[in-house]
Amino acid sequence: MDAIVQAAGLIFQPQVIWVILLSAAFGLFVGAMPGLTATMATALLVPITFFMDPVPALGAIVTATAMAIFAGDIPAAMLRIPGTPASAAYTDESYAMSKKGELDLNLGVNLVFSVLGGLIGVAILILATPVLAEIAVSFSSFEYFWLCLLGLTCAVFIATDSPLKGFASLLIGLAIGCVGIDPAAGHPRFTFGSVEMMAGISFIPAMIGMFAVSEVLRGVVSVDAQPVPLQQKVGNIFRGIGTVMKRYWWNFLRGSGIGVLIGALPGAGADIAAWISYAVSKKFSKEPEKFGTGHIEGIVDSTSANNSALGAAWIPALVFGIPGDSITAIVIGVLYMKGMNPGPTVFLQNPQFIYAVFIIFILANLLMLPLGWAAIKSAKQMLRVPRNVLLPLILLFCVVGSYAMTNSFYGIVLMTVMGVVAWLMEEHGFPIAPAILGLVLGELFEQSFMTSMIKADGVFAVFFQRPIAGTLAVLTSLLWVGMLWRAWRTRAPATVTATPPA
């Protein structure tokens, strides 16, 4: 109880509230701009949060991402372009609704169910983390090894349409993570005599490169294609929400539930949650023939799911230090920078910070209702910001942000190189998310692997002997068998399966 009071005291201060409001505006803008994602918002925020206390820093990230995931729904309805990948699953449906003249209802449903789904995600986060943390205290290197492997497997297996390229991307990320002092023996690897590379690949500039610079490179070649929003006035967006709620409350609960599950799974986040819950909604609907024609049902499911996934993704991040999606991958980096090493011990050492995160999450979701409404009302102006002005500004911001992280040009060089690498990878159909996860988890993965190998003295059976480790091992192996089976069945992996692009 003490910790909760302390946490509230840390949050309800004018400075922190200002940070939260400003990041909310930032998140809404970035989310609503096509091509700028919630992950990118986080990566661009980190250099600024670097100079803040832990609570406002985490508050900024939590708020900005929650807002961005919702705001991604706005251009989906108005332009038929998802603002963030998390809205891609139901973009066509939303746009079809707008064309039928139901833009108001669509935006209202998106806003209200984003808020409610987000709150469910937070509720589960609050309930689940302390319980899991108690179990996690007794984890040894074997459990961590399997957890990492499970997370990395999920990233490849669930999040990509070409498992082979996903797997290659993961290995690339892990290999890049090898740069620097090795975690077992302390020998510098692949540093080429550079002192700065001894500390490893500086994570934030790499992320800025992979998520922002690569996006700018893609954007500048089509900068003259400024999309034109629908000429439809936004009226009262809250009319008719009650009817939708009464009719589709089960869809809302199911969508939020799926969102929580997918979000909590290491390696998959809001975008996957939206795709899966939309598919589930269609499958179990009484009127599946209406899907795709501007039907609200699937939108209720998936717009709840992507926001609930966002909160749930923090579960593995806080408890095990294993990111639930690419946003929490960055968060883990921030936690380390702030000296709050994620893992079960953070609940004992700094419980007030954990409670602060919970409170901010609730606050951000509640704030989403008025701020989201304001964003919808001003969406036409926002969407008119010309991309040829925006992209150079983002690029300069990336440069300064990367520089701020290392206080040297190394950050900018790293950012540029990773930006080009990520651009090349995406051009060739290699998904970026697995590489990011590999880069973040690399050290923990190698460390737990090496420690386990040394403990087991080469007897691989020891990896399966502890009960939880054994269970995780079976789970991971099942995923691998499934993945190989799928690869075998489709054989010509170039054909796109039912799974969406990550």
Binding site: L164, N388, L391, V400, A404
Partner: protein, 157 residues
Amino acid sequence: MRANDAIAGLVLIILALGMILLTADFPSFPGQKYGPSLFPRILGTGVIICGVLLIAQGIMARRAGAPWVEIAPWVTDGWRATSFLLVLAMLLLYIFAADSVGFIPIAILFLGGLFLWLGVRPLHAALIAPAATLAIFWFFSSILRVPLPRGILTNIL
């Protein structure tokens, strides 16, 4: 621009071989079976396996009529291709010149150059580039205390 999977696979194999080669002079410690080279070697082997599979996949696609290299339309469009290269050129310019010239002039050049090339009206560009530069400079160097290079303006600021 998209190269055939076989080319991507080949590049991956070469990179992985290079990585494994570099692990050759990593030390091993007496009485310790697993050294710093183990993990990178496992990864390298994995990448090579992926590379081989990608080559197989690429050759199959080639037999089915896919080209070795597919050129995206923007590559042959002079303006778009230049936009792409200009972004990279501006980043390099910043990396090599910002320290001696200073953040403010380089950033104005950086923004102004990109604005004009991407079709922002000259008057707008002339206003936004310096204003944005000064705002970013003020925010990062005064509020966040990031030592942005001052260059030729060292004595003035």
